[in-house]
Symmetry: C2
Subunit: 568 residues, 2 copies
């Protein structure tokens, strides 16, 4: 079954579940009317169905490769990237002053979701560029903005993020890349960076690397880090790609999946760079880029889940095995355990997607209004969108393989690729463990205020549903209460105990939010929405009990096992 963009689902969630109307009512985003929204999503969906989806297998089977220092991308990727650029999709949320469409992030999220379903490996390139655009908009000076933004937005150039070094992964502060002032306002950047997604390509005129490095007077740790723009080709006076900069792709990684996306080891050897933002404030700028990218990566997980679900459903509708209870015709979708798997997959995708879109609405509202409440809402939801969206991506892709039976393990089927590709999303842009620690640490610095505010909405939603859906409403209300209690417990603990339960806590939070959005959908929608909500609330939501027990288990028993005990 070829990929079909789930436009009605997006429209329904925007209109009835995540209150996108609030965004439309702001001055900044007043152009995002229901008609415009529908037209944009339909157009993007068409591009995904017809141009990107056919490249999914091509990228896997013809990986990007390095030839004499030049990255050769998979067949068709250049043309598809051009089509994405042509459609304006690269800069859809970017500032119109530099050529962007200025549309809400919420719509960009929906488009990223569809592009991830269709061809994750290629979609990763624009995702990196989007993050770079946002970092430059927020932190770069006017000269840099004028030089880079129009080209990034048009797709003539593209962007990468350079954080990781061999000894500095999750611990970015341990980086060793150096930036020496050249005396003319530029800097000489020297060091090696690893895991650089789309570190090079053969279809944009220039590749713009945002690189974290330390100035000579930079303190140790994260506080001494600055951010630099280091282009592959140094722009000339007219802003066109000029002299080749002193940077190169050393090698490409041989990965489990995402073969169409070249993951580079980059070497900078006194490459010319320009400071972005203030000296020693690189982490702040990088966080802008990472927060955008974290929502984007969560959405990658959801997009892949959608692709894998459609693929598995197509198989299950077609494949005949045994007598079946309904029609006897024997399509495996009619078998209860297969139907259970597919129904749960669909319910999971809806829930994770609603969380990501609610997160995006909060981002848009924060941008449009500057309100602290929206900022903290967006900040709270970001690690949940990222970690949960990508976990669901892996789980649904794996369930999709399982639905295929033996065929799932055979590469020709395509089911395995979804799992191989999506598996990295729980790792990059901060592992899901890092996301969970962010949630219970940094995002609870407010004593849980933002979380309690959100939980109040969940409980209000349950109250509002009590009359027409009493059973489902009661289950959601009870679960929200349990999460509230766990949150109260959590914010009173030291970091060590919080971290020991962080992963389970994040997942429990996502379960309750998912149930909340399903309940809203059930209230606003038809019998199908209610049936799907029932699947989620009766089958998935109860998981929160075990998760919250684990969230509150504390660190002591983990450290009661010594390193030697673990190895024994």
């Amino acid at each position: 079954m070829p990929y079909r963009a789930p436009i009605p689902d997006f429209a329904f969630i925007l209109d009835h579940v995540v209150a996108f109307d609030q965004v439309r009512q702001t001055e900044r985003f007043s152009e995002a009317t229901p008609e415009t929204t529908r037209a944009i999503l339909t157009e993007a969906g068409k591009l995904c169905e017809t141009v990107l989806a056919p490249l999914q297998r091509v990228g896997d089977q013809n990986p990007a490769r390095l030839e004499n220092g030049v990255v050769r991308t998979s067949p068709g990727f250049a043309q598809a990237f051009a089509a994405m650029a042509e459609g304006g999709w690269l800069g859809m949320a970017a500032d119109p002053e530099y050529g962007g469409l200025g549309l809400p992030q919420t719509l960009a999220t929906a488009v990223n979701d569809m592009m991830s379903s269709a061809c994750l490996a290629l979609q990763l390139s624009p995702l990196m560029t989007q993050g770079q655009i946002e970092a430059l908009e927020n932190h770069a000076d006017e000269t840099l903005k004028t030089c880079y933004l129009p080209k990034l937005i048009s797709g003539q150039w593209c962007g990468t993020m350079n954080l990781t070094e061999p000894q500095a992964g999750s611990d970015v502060g341990a980086l060793r890349t150096k930036a020496d002032p050249n005396g003319d306002g530029t800097y000489a950047i020297t060091g090696q960076k690893i895991y650089i997604s789309w570190g090079d390509n053969d279809f944009t005129e220039n590749v713009c690397h945002l690189v974290l490095a330390r100035l000579p007077d930079g303190a140790a740790g994260t506080r001494g880090i600055s951010l630099f723009m280091v282009p592959k080709h140094i722009p000339d006076a007219q802003g066109n790609p000029g002299t080749r900069n002193a940077l190169r792709v050393v090698s490409l990684e041989h990965k489990m999946g995402l073969h169409g996306s070249p993951t580079a080891v980059m070497e900078y050897d006194r490459a010319t760079g320009w400071l972005v933002g203030e000296a020693h404030q690189g982490m702040a700028a990088m966080f802008t880029m990472m927060n955008n990218a974290r929502v984007g990566v969560g959405v990658q997980g959801i997009g892949v889940a959608e692709g894998a679900f459609q693929h598995a459903l197509g198989y299950a509708l077609d494949r005949k095995q045994g007598k079946t209870p309904l029609t006897g015709a024997g399509a495996i979708v009619e078998h209860a355990d297969v139907r259970r798997a597919l129904s749960v997959m669909k319910a999971e995708i809806f829930a994770a997607r609603a969380i990501a879109l609610a997160n995006s609405v909060a981002i848009d509202m924060a941008r449009a209004t500057g309100a602290e409440e929206w900022q903290s809402r967006a900040a709270l939801l970001t690690p949940i969108t990222k970690a949960h969206g990508t976990d669901i991506g892996c789980e649904v892709a794996s369930a999709g393989m399982q639905v295929h039976g033996g065929m799932g393990f055979i590469e020709e089927t395509g089911a395995a690729q979804y799992l191989r590709d999506v598996r990295v999303t729980t790792i990059y842009e901060g592992t899901n463990g890092i996301q969970a620690m962010d949630l219970v640490g940094r995002k609870m610095m407010d004593g849980g205020e933002a979380a309690f505010r959100l939980l109040q909405e969940v409980e209000d939603g349950a109250e509002a549903a009590r009359e027409s859906l009493p059973d489902l409403a009661e289950q959601v209300w009870q679960a929200a209460e349990s999460l509230r209690e766990a949150t109260e417990w959590l914010v009173a603990q030291d970091m060590q105990d919080r971290f020991a339960g962080a992963t389970a806590y994040l997942r429990a939070f996502a379960r309750i939010l998912g149930a909340h959005y399903h309940l809203k959908a059930a209230l606003a929608g038809d019998a199908r929405r209610r049936a799907l909500a029932e699947v989620f609330i009766t089958r998935v939501l109860p998981e929160h009990v075990g998760l919250l027990a684990q969230a509150r288990a504390g660190a002591a028993s983990l450290y009661a096992l010594s390193d030697e005990d673990l190895a024994a």
Copy 2:
């Protein structure tokens, strides 16, 4: 960190957790003294560490391939297979009358576990042969036994299972392969079989295919199926490989993992076969083979989990990132979320391994005593061992990748291979969905009697632990009670409602059994065993609440969503 065989763990579980003493006290297995057991496991462990483990990556990077109709196996596999044969490991549980060692299945299970950790792709070959040996021992006539068993046991020949056809996967009864009587007591076998693990190799003199086919007077469905021995080379009068039989490998599958194991499409074109057992009774014989193989496949999952755990722990002890709470030295194992992951992985492996060994003890007791109670215990545990062991294999392998961070996605690290390899184990030998249906269907035909008997032991175990470990004992007791109630509910439902909750029910059952064995270990063992039991009982066991809710959710809400709703 190179693989280290966990001999002390096996010894502890046998002595203190699964009551292997009962097996030793039978006449049949009286030679399996503690000293002999330890010596056998140590010897097998050495083989795994030194001969098999170095081939793990070799098989992945140099897949078996088909050249002019001949399968060329991965470098080193032939020598390693010879070493396994040499050590007597292929026939360790086989009948001494035909050259086997006649050891308990429980020890074979432990050895299979270690071999699966070391090199899953190669281990699959002896696993298939073991199943074939057992099928022949139980169903073949004396002529076939005398001809085939000694050669299979010595490793001169090896065995395969041929069930699946393109249109007949989980629905074996739909098979079309035909067996025409030749008039001389042999049969002409014609048909195509797929997914034949180790369908051929270049290191045994002969490959013996057990093939399901239908005689001309065979009824439709599973009741008309017979089992045939179809050797690659027809044994001559001296029992040596003679004329080449009319069968061939058509192609090998390109799989997500397990590259060292050739998965063949086999074609039989009036190949000569011999009937094994009675005509039309092929399914019974095949079930003997499958039940053995199902326990074996569950153990594959556990073995891979062990390998992946050791690999991840080695990385976590070595890799430094950030300041850590304990020593500040920064090995990532000291970070709470990483430590949580590793502790849970270790606790999961212990639990799944104890279940598999308890299952094997039941098999041995059934063989040694013929008692119906042991037979039904073994039958009940088999789908749990298979489905849960392989689920844990996938989960632990995935968690192991996650511990590696970015390195986990890079193939050179080896972490990804564990996940790619083990992923098929939830699919083959009956998907885990089929296992769950077997548990709530066939295995509950007794009204749940075998399950209730086992639950009684769990509750008795909890009572016995109340004095010294009151908190843990109470949690296990409560969980067992919940499972008892769910089981009472389950056996009163029709099949459709049972099947809708089957997967969750099986997992819940495994959680409670895992907690039971951990509690026994905590009672008998040192502080480390207690700490690990606490990790499992406080962090993993609570999952049963959500699972049992799902187990009891019934089928109605799944079918409230139509096929069109799922696709909408």
